[in-house]
């Protein structure tokens, strides 16, 4: 087969604009989903370490459910199924008045999916701090809340930074699934260009390079953060 190369395609109008718009949507979906995932994930992760049995059960149930169903299907559930199961007025609002339904569905689906993964990292981080530390905090008269706030969480946060980096990268990569419910993020746009111009290789190369750059930038940023919060005398990064 003969392939006609044209590397000007991804950097000429209107396709460059398409790619940039795709990049913007990728960042918007990933950014908002990350905020949601972080808040919910930290909450669920903490629940899983509390002395209260019901709280731990609830946290475990959340994690099991959201980790056992493919993300693609979760997006379909939020997009096609959940509005049908809501009370009529809410469903009506979602279908008629919610602006950018593809966007918000992607954010919620991706955010709650990622929250389960973050929760696992948070739990592991808290457990790595060790029972001795919570005992010492309790022994000095700190309440459970105080011991989490001043002792357990600050240390756990440093443990979980590296795994959270990879979760952050996962959110960027997984935001590509938004194309399945019609949001033209970066991958979707590159496929759009392929369909329009038959220059798929050039379009995909451009998108792939952008993903690589995003990844490298995210890693560099998190490394810098790790250095800032590093504790003298322990956990030095090799």
């Amino acid at each position: 087969m003969i392939y006609h190369w044209d590397w000007s395609v991804p950097i000429s109008a209107p396709y460059l604009g398409w790619l940039m718009s795709g990049l913007a949507w990728t960042l918007l979906v990933a950014g908002a989903a990350w905020v949601l995932a972080f808040i919910v994930g930290v909450g669920i992760g903490i629940l899983r370490t509390l002395p209260n049995r019901a709280a731990r059960r609830f946290g475990a149930l959340y994690v099991t459910i959201f980790r056992s169903i493919p993300l693609l299907l979760q997006l379909f559930l939020w997009y096609f199924v959940v509005p049908e199961l809501l009370p009529a007025s809410a469903a009506h609002w979602i279908k008629r008045d919610l602006p950018l339904p593809e966007y918000w569905t992607s954010v919620i689906g991706l955010g709650l999916f990622t929250a389960a993964r973050i929760a696992e990292q948070i739990r592991a981080g808290i457990e790595a701090v060790g029972r001795g530390q919570s005992m010492a905090a309790a022994a000095s008269g700190l309440t459970l809340l105080q011991s989490y706030r001043y002792v357990v969480l600050p240390v756990a946060a440093r443990y979980v930074l590296p795994p959270l980096t990879s979760e952050f990268l996962n959110v960027i990569k997984n935001s590509s699934l938004a194309l399945t419910i019609g949001l033209l993020e970066l991958t979707g746009q590159s496929r759009q260009i392929e369909g329009e111009t038959f220059h798929g290789i050039e379009a995909f190369t451009a998108a792939t390079l952008i993903y690589v750059v995003l990844t490298l930038a995210a890693i560099a940023a998190m490394r810098a953060l790790e250095r800032v919060v590093a504790i003298p005398g322990v956990m030095a990064r090799v």
Partner: protein, 267 residues
């Protein structure tokens, strides 16, 4: 209850009188604890009087650390009562947080908070729990650090200190709460041999100053020279409770005798 005596010839009479008049700080009464089918503690009873140093010893797995942790409610128990300065530990209504703020505890692995400096480690609970001002907590912490010989390490993080230094800092942290009693859970077991004595010296100083102490340890030298009484545990039971001199001169049970001969041969 038999009245324990310190057979120190110089102060014999004064100590004896003193001890009779001393109030009970920690009273452990028929405490039992099960972990599943396993009896961790069986009908344990002992007391610690004000200003007294009681060493709890015994082979590993004898339940001594568990008993110590029951005193400030870090471990629960199913039967019996523990009273600390008149407050019952096991009762639901007891404000454990408040009780714990009055009892200092020192752990085998120090458990200093790694992300805080030594000074912040010491001032955290006084500020957050007792509501002391920063400057009051700071002054107190510095004077305690001078007392344990670590004034120059105030701004170090725990990871930058040796084991012995960390444990001395941990003792200062416990003292910062002005505790009515101190609990020590094998405070020298995780230390390099050459740093053990610096920690024992601090503990000996505390005892001389009249601190009420319950100490789980294998350091028989400390038990012999500093403790008023020794409690020997094995298999979750308290087998022996005697004045330190008497315990070392003539242990009354066979198990205590064999424990002592083994441990003294090692040391």
């Amino acid at each position: 209850m038999t009245i324990p005596l310190r057979l120190d010839s110089r102060n014999f009479v004064r100590d004896e009188l003193d001890l009779v008049l001393r109030p009970v700080v920690i009273a452990i009464d028929h405490v039992s604890k099960k972990f599943g089918d396993l009896d961790v503690l069986k009908q344990c009873s002992m007391t610690v009087l004000k200003g007294e140093v009681v060493v709890v010893c015994g082979p590993s797995g004898s339940g001594k650390s568990t008993l110590l942790k029951c005193v400030n409610g870090l471990e629960g128990f199913q039967a019996g009562t523990i009273t600390v300065a008149g407050t019952s530990v096991g009762e639901r209504r007891t404000d454990l947080t408040k009780l714990r703020s009055q009892i200092g505890m020192v752990f085998q692995h120090f458990e200093l908070y790694p992300h805080l400096t030594v000074l912040q480690n010491i001032t955290l609970a006084p500020i957050q729990v007792l509501g002391r001002t920063k400057s009051a907590a700071f002054d107190k912490a510095m004077s305690l650090l001078r007392r344990v010989g670590l004034a120059d390490k105030a701004d170090c993080h725990p990871g930058q200190l040796s084991g012995g230094q960390q444990q001395r800092a941990a003792i200062a942290r416990a003292l910062a709460m002005d505790p009515i009693a101190m609990l020590f859970d094998e405070p020298t077991s995780a230390l390099d041999p050459e740093t053990i004595s610096e920690v024992l010296d601090v503990m000996t100083g505390l005892a001389r100053d009249g601190m009420t102490m319950m100490v789980v340890t294998h350091e028989m030298g400390f038990a012999r020279h500093v403790a008023n009484r020794v409690v020997f545990m094995d298999g979750g039971c308290i087998l022996e409770e005697a004045a330190a001199e008497a315990f070392f001169a003539q242990p009354s049970t066979e198990r205590a005798r064999s424990f002592l001969s083994k441990i003294l041969r090692q040391q």
